[in-house]
């Protein structure tokens, strides 16, 4: 089973990448209220049970994938 880990900078942390993308969008007449740039990690976990897979992904995310001081994360089950 594949689990996706979506990682975003916390709202109170200035997101330099998001700000850069925001600026470019604005310059091209495609302004948005806000743009935040994070990262996406896909884990292929050797589990068929969804809750077990999510449990393992949570452990991995909290072990190294995100830094709680500056980021938040969300898990999603990747449908084929």
């Amino acid at each position: 089973m594949k689990i996706g880990v979506k990682i975003l900078p916390k709202t109170e942390v200035l997101d330099s990448q998001g700000r850069a993308v925001e600026g470019t969008l604005k310059n091209h007449g495609k302004a948005v209220n806000q743009c935040r740039v994070g990262k996406y990690v896909q884990l292929d976990i050797g589990e068929t049970d969804e809750s077990k897979a999510l449990g393992k992904a949570k452990e991995i995310a909290e072990f190294v994938l995100y830094n709680p001081l500056i980021e938040t994360y969300e898990l999603e089950v990747v449908k084929k």
Partner: protein, 218 residues
């Protein structure tokens, strides 16, 4: 014979030889510590985590290096009160290991910044030389992700606990409250974004870096 100073090397560390020479310039004996190895802390007098781009800065600066086997021994050394110094990427690694508080994120300007900066001593630490009494240093920085951040209340506590080591005179990267270097509660684990090993002789532009390394001599 005096015990050696351990210099940690990860894949992607690139300031290791400069730190080696800086340690030698102070009359101390450097020794490499490879990231895959663990070591006996009592065989060393102190440890330095040099700058560079460990693991290519993948995932987050310092995040993967923080999980390397050598960091287990370094954690033991830190807990036992040995002096541990992190420089630039070494600072990021020590934060990711949670040996130091806070995090370092992309510079406010979004640019890699390579320039000389003026630093002001806020609180003395194990890595502040008493003999030189240096309260102002001029050192070079070279980083893209050196903006120090943490929660406001936590940062206020860091100042109250006298764990802020250096601040910038003219903040180059947007660090909260101009923080350039911090220490742990015991003050033996310290780190800064500027590179003292690049300022060891007049011909390098400044010899202020000696004020940091000479702390090992006392």
């Amino acid at each position: 014979m005096a015990k050696p100073v351990g210099i940690l090397r990860f894949l992607g560390t690139n300031c290791d030889r400069d730190v080696w020479q800086a340690v030698e310039a102070m009359g101390l004996t450097p020794q490499w510590l490879w990231y895959e190895d663990q070591f006996a802390v009592k065989d060393y007098q102190g440890f330095i985590v040099p700058g560079g781009f460990s693991y290519g800065d993948y995932l987050r600066c310092g995040a993967l290096a923080a999980k390397a086997p050598v960091m287990k021994s370094l954690g033991e050394a830190a807990a036992a009160g040995y002096p541990v110094l992190g420089i630039c990427n070494g600072f990021q690694i020590l934060c990711e290991t949670k040996l130091l508080p806070g995090a370092l994120v992309r510079n406010e300007s979004r640019r890699f910044i390579d320039k000389w900066v003026d630093l002001n001593l806020v609180n003395p630490t194990r890595w502040t030389s008493r003999s030189q009494g240096a309260v102002h240093l001029r050192l070079p920085i070279a980083h893209g992700e050196g903006r120090f951040v943490m929660e406001e209340a936590e940062l206020a506590r860091l100042f109250d606990n006298e764990q802020v080591w250096w601040t910038y005179g003219d903040n180059p990267n947007g660090s909260m409250r101009d923080v350039a270097g911090v220490a742990n509660e015991m003050k033996n684990v310290c780190a800064l974004m500027p590179h003292p090993e690049r300022a060891m002789f007049d011909w390098m532009g400044s010899e202020d870096g000696r004020a940091i390394f000479s702390a090992l001599l006392q």
